[in-house]
């Protein structure tokens, strides 16, 4: 399997997971890079994105898996040709033969930017820090079978708070992203539930880097 490391920023953050797969299928076609096709009545070109991402999130570390059908093209050239065929905001950084299985992908470093239109409330950092030091932190999670409560703390490995400016507070966190996975927006949800006075007016989220369980960068 070939792997493409790509980023999704700007206007592209509004493209959904399914739409992004379709977008890549067409980009490969435009780039003259034939993909292998799946099985079934209407065989579709096969691409797979490692960690599906919610709408609106930005990322600098997405992985796409694919296979070329009957042609061999150097990674650098695939990368160049794809970027010429992709839309603004989706950019391939590197293409290579994937060596480790995706199941070893385990941790994600991400940044939530909490926006406070009327300024960051006094003592926000300390309160949030204390919240994440509790023993348990139950947060509702909407799943396929309705809403369930889960303790998010076992999936939160490290965190760091930083004031970017008087209105923006950055929360950088290292969280589990596979088996089990924590949606980083759950950290924001916890703040809303347990520290309502610190509910941000808006929160943006960005994936920064992915790692295996040993915190080695995963490629």
């Amino acid at each position: 399997m070939l792997r493409a490391l790509f980023e999704k920023t700007g206007r592209a953050v509004y493209i959904s997971h399914l739409d992004l797969m379709r977008l890549f299928q067409r980009a490969f076609q435009r780039a003259g890079l034939p993909l292998t096709h799946g099985q079934g009545f209407n065989p579709r070109p096969f691409v797979s994105i490692a960690l599906p991402m919610s709408l609106g999130m930005e990322s600098r570390c997405e992985l796409l898996e694919f296979q070329l059908d009957g042609v061999e093209v150097p990674g650098e050239e695939i990368c160049r040709r794809l970027n010429d065929a992709l839309v603004e905001g989706v950019r391939v950084l590197e293409v290579y033969e994937g060596e480790r299985k995706l199941k070893y992908l385990s941790l994600l470093r991400c940044r939530l930017t909490l926006e406070y239109d009327r300024g960051i409330p006094e003592g926000a950092e300390d309160q949030i820090d204390a919240l994440f030091r509790r023993e348990r932190l139950m947060v509702e999670k909407k799943g396929k079978n309705g809403t369930v409560e889960q303790d998010i703390l076992p999936m939160l490995k490290q965190w760091k708070l930083e004031r970017l400016n008087p209105q923006e507070l950055a929360l950088e966190a290292l969280i589990c992203c596979q088996n089990p996975a924590l949606n980083p927006m759950q950290l924001e949800a916890a703040i809303r539930v347990y520290l309502p006075g610190l509910s941000p007016d808006f929160t943006r989220c960005c994936r920064l880097e992915i790692y295996d369980s040993e915190q080695t960068v995963f490629r």
Binding site: A12, Y14, R22, P45, D117
Partner: protein
Amino acid sequence: MTQLKERLLLSVQKPARYTGGEWGEVQKDPAQVRVRVAFAFPDTYEIGMSNVGMRILYGVMNRMEGVWCERVFTPWGDMEEAMRAHGLPLWTLESQTPVKEFDMIAFSVGYEMAYSNILNMLRLSGVPLRSSERKGLRNMVFAGGVCTFNPEPFADFVDFFSLGEGEEVTVEIVRLYDRAKGEDWSKEQFLREVAKIPGVYVPSFYRHDYNPDGTLKAVVPLVDGVPTVHRKRIVEDLDSAYFPTKMIVPSTEIVHDRGNLELFRGCIRGCRFCQAGFSCRPVRRKSPEVLYRQATELIEYSGNNEITISSLSTSDYRGLKELTEKLLPYCAQHRIQLSVPSLRADNFSRELMDKLQTARKSGLTFAPEAGTQRLRDVINKNLTEEEILHTCELAFSGGWSNVKLYFMLGLPTETDEDVLGIAELVYKVIKLWRECGTNRKRGLRVHVATAYFVPKPHTPFQWEKQITPEEYLRRCKLLKSHLYSKSVEYDYHSPDLSRLEAVFARGDRRLGPVIETAVKKGARLDGWDEYFNKDIWEEAFRECGVDPDFYTVRGYGEEELLPWDAIDVGVTKKFLQLERRRAYAGKITPDCRQGCAGCGANRMLREVECDA
């Protein structure tokens, strides 16, 4: 900090509809642009981006030096509410600029139910609705599309109409505007000049007078020298006409998410209820060579893995064999799915269907429109029961088990016998499946749908009465009570929407205030069940003192001056009258290839001959 708009985008469904940034989108440097056009499609992104006409005109305008055409669509209800709550005006996709800052605002109108969206989009943009309230050149509103063949309901709001095919006339219009802006003309001066372009109609240059009985009395020109008849524009040679093979590829799924190529324009069939069949004449074809080249360019540029070749009646395209013989191997090699809708049930089409291998046996669709041969002859729908049954027989033997049958209720001269004829036809289909269906385990599904007949301008039925909604429902129930097989699924359209469609289709200028009132009361997205609100419209009609029945069940007299009489689509009124007589006599008119019926549309051609 995240801007308001970006915040709102994450609170609505499918935000990619509002952001632009797709493959093939045209970006220009605003400093190098003299004329900015907001091309407004009065329906959602998914519908609008599926429209080939819009894609053509987007390309036509953006090809012009100094002109930048951007797109804007009707926001879905959730986005509209968010915009209103935060005072955010409607913006275009490419540069995310508010529509009110644009020089020109162009609407493409293909469906009557989009009328409320047009005014609502102007309202959301903060642009005055009425033409008379917009002073100066800025925000010049013009409109085109099939619905503008009766432009009168929009006479108060639209500065001018561009009638017919837009490839050439749009360039002439925008070029004139460019000059007007450069020379700082008044709006009046521009309108006087633009009215001289063939195909352009400026409604404010005419006054409509009415008789005491409400019918149109006279159309009085208010400006010297303006034309009394406005003939639509056509492109004669489609081979050399501009066609955008570098089309925008949406980043989110749309209704027709594939490449789309037009085979020819016009129709040889002459079904008497069909507006497109008459108003899109004369027949002009594209050559298979040009189509093949455009198809491959389209696929290569877009990366689509599906392409549709479309027309009003694809089996009537003379080059179909030649084109598909070239295109099928290309598609197979590149793993492209070729879809060919609108095929008739002839032998070649059946062979083609086999070759297309749309592996999914999605089913057969027929539109007999009427249940008896008598009524099919009245409407000139030359599809016989034998053809339907023969095709079903072959399909059933080949393992298909899904049939869709589309009909209309309320066609001129229709009786209960015709309604029950639908049930009889359905039972013949079921019986046939019992005899020759090979895939018995799956069971047969016959989907029957009836629509409420809407008389349309520029058709032989343009004078006809629409039956009352009560009568329509009675006929639906009558039919339903005769469809008792478990294999049959019957759907009938609600009459409310089709009644409104009938009002607008043959409406006059008195409907302007009705539309405006309804929109101010919240009418929008009327083509969508979740938003259509009949009560709003009823109230608007009442408040404006307009009786919808005048436009529907009354019927129009042949001697009556019709609101759309000043629009010449090529087919003569005399021919439509003749066709109406033939309808009442139950006489069919053979298709144009068997002999020219003399509709008159070929008079529009100078360079080529009618390809009928």
